[in-house]
């Protein structure tokens, strides 16, 4: 709760900073300091919660409750946001004139993340989804001179509003069936006498949440929106924005609908298969690395859906480790991408010769996204697939997912091939400073640590 208040205050504060401070680099510096402070507050909350053995803290008559898991997730996501600001803060400052507002919007997104990890009531779920989404609509259109950015914002806004309508409809149907918004109350839904209204509500929620996590066939908005948005914000939307929606998905479907899983399991399994297929196959045919990463974020969502699918304790660990591993590696690769002028594969040609350190760090991040052992991406995929195998009914889907992972190696390795084995003179936007290299080194160290000692990132 302290973190929610702090993140809101930071958002407001950043808006004032943007009025009073004109120097862009001091705005970035103050944002960095504030995010670091927020990270500190989150750590403090985790530590105090660990000492306090009385269980989850609840707020607003039980509508919000933070247990150890939610606090841990919030801390990790704030840490990732801090990493994001450190790595891409200077690039954010180049997008437009309203630098302070961008950071304010990012900290509002974090408020949404915190709400989604701790909601106990469908109304808070709705508010959380909206707080998460509306700043993203604005950020998508923040490059106002760019037509594609405006298109992205409009498309995202229209499609997002539509999915919000479906979400509300689902919530309304569930309320009609049970008479409660409370997620604990929803557990009363019985398998043997399941109200068709409730079942319709659950399906509506799958569609609405599937939209937010860009699961096929609700993924259509993703490539255009991500491709059109300014690259740093795409990094944020496709990582933290997405995994927060996943935690909301898990929280509802495991805690409230877990006992009904036989009713929705097949739908989610088909959605998972479709997401993996569409994401991976389409990513193969892209010529722009940025667009490839947009499709690959769909493919990665397909793996995260395994956590939703398998209603067990490992799935929760899986989503945590996936969230961190995917976010860290993606932020790393985006930090490399923004340095380049040309976003096509050819733009990467010969990067290893010109900037060996940059190419090396990009390689580590790409190997992680492809799920090669020793990197975080492997552990992430391992945990979610393990959860699915333990769940027991979807072995075919696990094998299918692994075949898709092999396809994903194709498009990730294309970048590595371009960097290391092709000749070319890549043009850079700016010099790669030692500070950049240091931060990327930290990022890659994190990727390796997640892949070798994941226990330090898991919540016990």
């Amino acid at each position: 709760m302290k973190a929610i208040i702090a993140a809101t205050l930071i958002g407001v504060l950043m808006m004032f900073v943007s009025i009073s401070v004109k120097n862009k680099s001091s705005i970035v510096a103050s944002a960095t300091i504030l995010f670091a402070a927020l990270f500190g507050i989150n750590i403090w909350e985790v530590v105090t919660a660990a000492q306090n053995t009385s269980g989850a803290q609840t707020f607003f008559n039980g509508m919000l409750s933070f247990d150890g898991f939610s606090l841990w997730f919030n801390m990790l996501m704030t840490g990732c946001s801090l990493l994001f600001v450190l790595l891409l803060g200077n690039e954010i400052a180049k997008i437009g004139n309203h630098v302070g507002e961008y950071f304010a919007l990012i900290s509002f997104i974090l408020v949404g993340v915190f709400l989604l990890s701790g909601y106990n009531n469908l109304l808070i779920l709705f508010i959380g989804i909206e707080i998460l989404s509306i700043p993203q609509y604005i950020l998508a259109g923040s490059d106002k001179r760019n037509l594609k950015s405006s298109e992205a914002a409009l498309k995202y806004f229209l499609m997002g509003s539509f999915s919000t309508g479906i979400l509300l409809m689902g919530i309304a149907l569930l309320y009609g069936a049970t008479g409660t918004f409370d997620t604990i109350g929803l557990r009363m839904l019985q398998t043997d006498a399941l109200n068709p209204m409730a079942l319709a509500g659950i399906i509506f929620l799958i569609v609405a949440l599937g939209f937010k996590v860009s699961a096929a066939p609700m993924h259509m908005w993703t490539p255009d929106v991500y491709d059109g948005s300014p690259t740093p914000f795409m990094a944020y939307m496709s990582t933290i924005g997405k995994v927060a929606a996943f935690v909301a998905f898990l929280r509802l479907f495991h805690a409230s609908f877990g006992s009904l899983s036989s009713h929705w399991m097949l739908i989610v399994a088909i959605v998972t298969a479709a997401t993996l297929l569409v994401g991976n196959l389409t990513a193969v045919f892209q010529q722009s690395v940025k667009r490839m990463l947009a499709y690959s974020s769909i493919a990665q969502a397909g793996f995260m859906l395994f956590a939703v699918l398998s209603v067990n304790a490992i799935a929760w660990q899986g989503i945590i480790i996936y969230a961190v591993a995917y976010t860290v590696a993606s932020v790393g690769i985006f930090a490399v991408l923004v340095k380049l002028k040309d976003y096509t594969y050819d733009g990467f040609n010969g990067l290893a010769r010109k900037e060996p350190a940059l190419a090396f760090f990009a390689t580590i991040c790409l190997l992680s996204l492809a799920g090669i052992p020793l990197t975080g991406g492997f552990m992430a995929k391992y945990f979610v697939l393990m959860a699915a195998v333990q769940q027991g009914q979807v072995m075919w889907l696990v094998i299918f997912a692994l075949l898709m992972a092999a396809i994903s190696a194709y498009y990730y390795f294309r970048v590595i091939i371009a960097m290391y084995f092709k000749q070319g003179a890549p043009e850079l936007n700016s010099e790669v400073s030692n500070y950049d290299k240091l931060l990327l080194g930290v990022t890659c160290t994190l990727v390796i640590l997640i892949g070798t000692v994941p226990q330090f990132f898991l919540h016990n």
């Binding site: 090669i372 094998i399 992972a405 092999a406 190696a409 084995f421 226990q455």
Partner: protein
Amino acid sequence: MMLSSLIFIPLLFGIVAFLAKSSAKAMALLGSLASLVISGYLSAQAAHTPLTFSMPWIPQLGTQFSLLADGMSAMLCLLTAIVMTVVVLANWDNEIERPTSFWGLMLLSQAGITGVFLASDVLLFYFFWELAIIPVYFLCSRWGGERRIAVTFKFFVYTFVGSLMMLAAIIYLAMLNPGADAYSWANITRAGAALSPQNQTWLFWLFFGAFAIKMPLFPFHTWQPDTYEQASTPVTIILSALMVKMGLYAVIRWLFPALPDGVAFWSNTVIILSIIGIVYGSFLALSQTDLKRLVAYSSLAHMGLMCAAAFAKTQPGIHGLMVQMFNHGINITGMWLIVQMIENRWGSRDMTRLGGMATGAPHMAIALVILAYANIALPLTNGFVGEFMMFHGIFQSASPYHITFMVIAGLGVILGAAYTLKMVQKTAFGSLAPMVVAKDMSLGESAALAFIVALVIFLGVYPKPLLDLTGNVAQLMFP
């Protein structure tokens, strides 16, 4: 501790070689010599009692960083160290582009391969399995022939698909008995062997697919000739002397105990595929003019015989196979080194443009003839013992077709003699083809080849150390 040092020494030296500006080659030599000493000592110990090492790794999963060296593992670690040392020595005077990355990656792949041979936790095994392939991917793509990038990518996709299928099987087996030691060898084999035969038959292919691609077994081999041809020779040596052994080793160490009913169900199929591989590889080797492709196809034939011997599931067959794994590694290293030297001196690998090595580079020609004899498995060379025992094993196998298997596999020996002697005849004898660099072996090359040839003869005359080292393992598997 000594076991883990076998993995960490090449890893550390590899990282140092990356960072070192000029002395990468020296680092590679130091690293591989250190591994050689340790693995030699290890082999002496492991012949009597297996060594183990274990520490907790990821408690949430129940995996341990646990290593085990029995005779077979120790022998393969020794082979890895010998091959690496020989490769460094033989390339001491060769100019390799970007030596720091090259030797750094070579040492990293050595760490991965050694880890595969030592791991006794299945997740750790999988980690090393992939850790071995990633450096090799970069080695093959960066150094080598013109078509190397596409060819390597094909190779990588093949092995990656295989590995991922294996991963599915690993998760499945580990989740049968979750617990603090879910991934240990003991638990995996217990859980697997308790499965119903139907489940074992489909799990078999998830596992064996990865190993069959690595070996490579007949229909999964299409990556192999191209990759061997396009990769630079030191890397080809790593691939053909060491990485193919990973597949065979995994079959014996993991597949046989974990899925006994699955193995029993499919063993005739696998032997038939292996024998097709022997004949197919031999005939193709006979029709090649490119030396590298010839050795590549001959390796396919040899691997076919080894795989057939494994799936014959008899004690002499397995024992001979283990001995042959070592000897094949030694022989093929020697063959590749000679091919590399020929290419350096004559500027071509095309046999129609070669000839007269006996006059142009007599020492090389002597080594070639000895290695050719070992390749044909003539008595008094190291190839003989293992091959003899493997045929013995195939003959003893419980399969109703064992005599047919043996007869057709025996055809491979005759064909092997034909293509090997043809190669010797075309390269060593005849009139001297014009040489680009007219000199015999350099000091490093002589040292490397002398070591190989000495091993060939010593282990041919006195194979007892190798037989003793692996005897216990074979006896435990098939009493």
